[in-house]
Symmetry: D2
Subunit: 355 residues, 4 copies
């Protein structure tokens, strides 16, 4: 290809988010991966950690050298643990390089939320102010001009995409929003621990965080932004025996009884033209509603909804691959938007069936 | 053993509930399994269908012959599809034989609930009136004198045991009770279908019935009985990739802010002396909260609870083995109570770890 | 794209092989899927059966109308049950259309093998004679000129690719070749049955065919072709609890003690330039040897080898996705070769990790 | 129970073998668990580590204090990592207490095998000489009088029980015995590692040790003992996605063609009266052959066999629960034999279905 490719660096390339970014970026027709940083594995072949990349790349992990990154690349992805990028991003931005951050460090608009949810003061609230929250379906125009995109948390994304349309419509009780999420083991990251040891993690339906999950803050932030202040979200996270995937089941209470056709209107209005959101509600067959099994490996968010007139309740379900739409895929989608490329570039993968 | 054993018959012995009853009854020191009925498999060895019983029994399935059953046995278990036992039980009872029914045919106290939830008129409301709902923790005294015990639905049981104490305490909003349930594939029964075909059923987190599940009726019945009329339950059922087990996560809204110590008081008061209910809320370790992985094969119902003060919400989790506490185990427990035996007899199994 | 695309038909499009062909062909830059035949589902949307294709195609299944196929398409894929294509392929070929057959009907060179292994006389031995066995790594030149390609069985392919190099080298005992294969549930096809019912199929390590597997015939055919007559293969097939994937472990006995460097020479010589065969033997890390987990969704065949000097044994392992390299991927690879396209076209997918 | 119970100590009680011993011993009618040693977890509740034991025992782990053990108990089980018990067992035996060791330290009859397979000189070959290899089916009489029983390795046991009868019959080639084993993740023990991290361990069919497995030594030792010197075993170990269970498929070559009825005679002769060995070879149904799914939680070893006349091969399959028959169950069986109790005491559990 004669056309010059965008040179990108990944910081935190040995983790699962980093590996998925590598998979997507190595296949992206407009990008060249120049640097893949892993302090721990510097010098090692990337394919030893991400075995799916064997024969496709002979890239090795690099040590963390900010100067190199700033001299040789046009865009930096951070896929580092929470609390790392906040100290590095300002320097990168100063050098004129754009940043897409997959960690939590620039997601929350209000600096005061950081001590509360993450336990530290945000060191650069002025930089935070310029960050754009990286959900293209909701912030596409801001992303176009962003220098710093903060990609959403995976559970947060699944809750936000299913809830924002109905919150924006102003038809539900704001203070009683339940999000009951089920997530695969890759969501715990790449470090072994007693709770992710296969004999202990296999076969579980484990309510590992019934209350107090940090992603609550992101969901409420977006609901308040699009639906007005005052939303209260009760997020409960369960570990289930899959590797990839999230299903978030939201239970909300309409202010007035509602019919299915009204919901169709709300959700078609919100997502009709979105390339990566599918409304799934079939009358027959095995796959009538959203299920993460169907979206594994793809950038889709499948959304379903149902009215329970017995209780005056609406049930919403959203299914994503936590490492794609919930992390690396959204990041690439934002990169495409920033550069004015076709938004689906490098993200065409359909998912497999059965898998 | 010189002591004479109780002779029991199983009708519907080839299904998963029937197989689990056989496992428990063949190990029960006071019982002899005389007849195991399967119309479809009459004449076949039982161990061919329930391979775990190989070498332990040479029993064969019998055809359905009510006279034989009434002549030769003291107690009949029905583990038949819904709608079968309602036509057979009255005859059996007339002959003076007691019945424990694992199907839905005698669960609902109000005959009018049958057309609504099951689509048929109940043929013998007078018999229905005498049936006792088979949850020992709530109806132990009635079970002692019962001639007909109607064992609860598996999802219903998991919701009822976690919700009745808090409903009885009168401290939650009655009309906004969410039960988000996750269940293994054995809950679908033993007949192959497109949705249970392994390639299609493996790896799913499938919201197969977001609203309208029949077990809703049972949960509301018991909540109204113990907590006063007016409870409305929103039950949403999800299929997850395990074979056995249910986790039901209930989300309820306290009328006033509540503290953990009050919940401890409510639940200790309800279950302190119960042999098969464990309150699980540990401060450390991998198994801090209820998880069906831990109860597989056992008759335990593990219950956890958490206060979410952010939202003024209480989260309850209950974990059972759907085929044991959710079916055959509760049936055996009721049998023990009826006969004045130690309630835990034949139900001592602890579950395995890891599994 | 202004360039005209090749119009293809799929017969047997509702099965798992057919669905995988659709996934690959819908993404192929040189192909247009004109007709997807399913007698049973004619008129239904394809995405209802293959839910991963939702939003990507609105194609519906067509009835079986050979005239339509012959009038409107340039190439026909058969992904039908064994015994169907043998009666249809001759007519299609007569009309000048090429055929790629994923079933067994034209795989065996010797017509007399059909009564023995499949129980029927081959109706058109003259057509059979012209069929080319569709393993590009072994028959690339013949495929270029083929009108009829018979794609290999999935277990056969995994055994052939790992065994042919060492058989060709003439260094092993010909009559004692063991292939111990482990396969996922998608290999059983899309029809529910008692043995594929999730509760019965989950968690198994089931030796479902210790001897007598039909794919034995294909393996011996290729070993005899490349290594001389007289090979005897003992293939034993086990079902394991994955959906996609095959690991075939071959145990063979060298005529003389052999060293690893000799094996490297044999296998590098055979596959050095092959785009879809990877030799996997790493000194450290978790993925030191071939494992189907790594190739799911991709067209790779990963091969490992080990010398056991204790026993004078060589152990070979090959890992494939049974639906890709073991079926649809090999078929597309052959299609690319026939048309002189880049052999990897439409087959670039890397696989995911972790998954 | 008025009868006095045998007081036992467990050293290494926090591992999976130790936990399974606790499950079995806490249910054993003749035993009292007095001490459960875990250096790492001394003082902690046992049920926090083995959550299935919650509500059944309030035992806490003890520190390692050999004097206490020797003063207060009648029998000691060692379930420690290889290399630990060899330094402790002599002292325990000197005090007149019997030992059942689940580690490898006293399994090999020839002291010279330790440097070769384990890398250390055996410190007490005189004690080693008196150890009895703990497979009741083969060494029942010696176990009756043993002071030290060395329980077999789990893969070794599965290979030995399927191979000894045919080796003893003297009808197979001694130098070409293949054992292709598939094992669940609990076989890796309780310590998290990169290769047992759920995202990496889930979905694998991983040939983790194609050659050189230490259990080879035990299998050859027993084959040589019962079938004469000269057996050579090629053991290849694969990790599959189950938690518990082993299937070992052995491929052997008869010296003369053999028929099924001869095999039946050999295996019935060997195991007809064994309470924990089942010969499984059914003509129909889903569970025609041995499968670990059926034996999980039980002490059974299921064995199947098949003749492949195409190749003059015999295929043997054995299925066990690696933590029961492959560890704690065999240990309890030996304990029962030593004390003259019913051999099946405390081991009556059937396994579940489906699970």
């Amino acid at each position: 290809m004669s056309e010059e490719r965008l040179k990108v660096a990944l910081v935190g390339a040995s983790g699962y988010g980093g590996g998925e970014l590598l998979r997507l970026l190595l296949n992206h027709p407009k990008v060249e991966v120049s640097i893949a940083v892993s302090r721990r594995l510097a010098g090692e072949y990337v394919f030893r950690t991400h075995p799916n990349l064997r024969s496709r790349t002979n890239l090795r992990f690099s040590p963390m050298e900010l100067d190199n990154i700033m001299n040789e690349t046009d865009l930096v992805f951070f896929s580092t643990p929470h609390g790392v990028s906040k100290d590095l991003v300002p320097k990168v931005l100063e050098s004129g390089i754009k940043v897409i951050d997959l960690s939590a460090d620039f997601r929350l608009r209000n600096p005061e939320d950081y001590p509360r949810w993450y336990g530290w003061e945000h060191p650069c609230p002025d930089v935070l102010k310029k960050a754009v929250y990286g959900i293209p379906e909701l912030h596409r125009e801001e992303i176009q001009d962003a220098n710093l995109v903060a990609c959403p948390g995976c559970l947060a994304l699944s809750g936000i995409l299913e809830l924002v349309p109905i919150a924006k419509a102003g038809i539900i009780e704001k203070e009683k929003i339940i999000v009951d999420s089920k997530i695969g083991s890759s969501g715990s990251g790449e470090s072994p621990s007693p709770s992710t040891h296969h004999p202990e993690r296999s076969g579980v339906v484990r309510p590992y965080m019934p209350a107090g999950h940090r992603h609550t803050a992101e969901i409420e932030q977006e609901l308040n932004l699009f639906g007005g202040e005052g939303h209260k979200v009760g997020l409960s996270a369960h570990a289930v025996d899959i590797v990839r995937g999230i299903l978030s089941t939201a239970h909300v209470f309409p202010l007035e009884p509602i019919e299915m056709k009204s919901l169709w209107k709300v959700y078609r209005g919100a997502y009709r033209d979105e390339p990566f959101v599918r409304l799934v509600r079939d009358q027959k067959g095995v796959y009538r509603l959203a299920d993460p099994k169907v979206v594994v490996g793809s950038n889709f968010c499948d959304i379903s909804f149902e009215v329970d007139s017995h209780l005056n309740r609406v049930i919403l379900c959203s299914a994503i691959d936590n490492l794609v739409k919930g992390a690396a895929g959204s990041a690439v989608q934002s990169m495409n938007i920033i550069h004015g490329w076709e938004e689906t570039l490098g993200l065409e993968l359909m998912g497999f069936h059965p898998v």
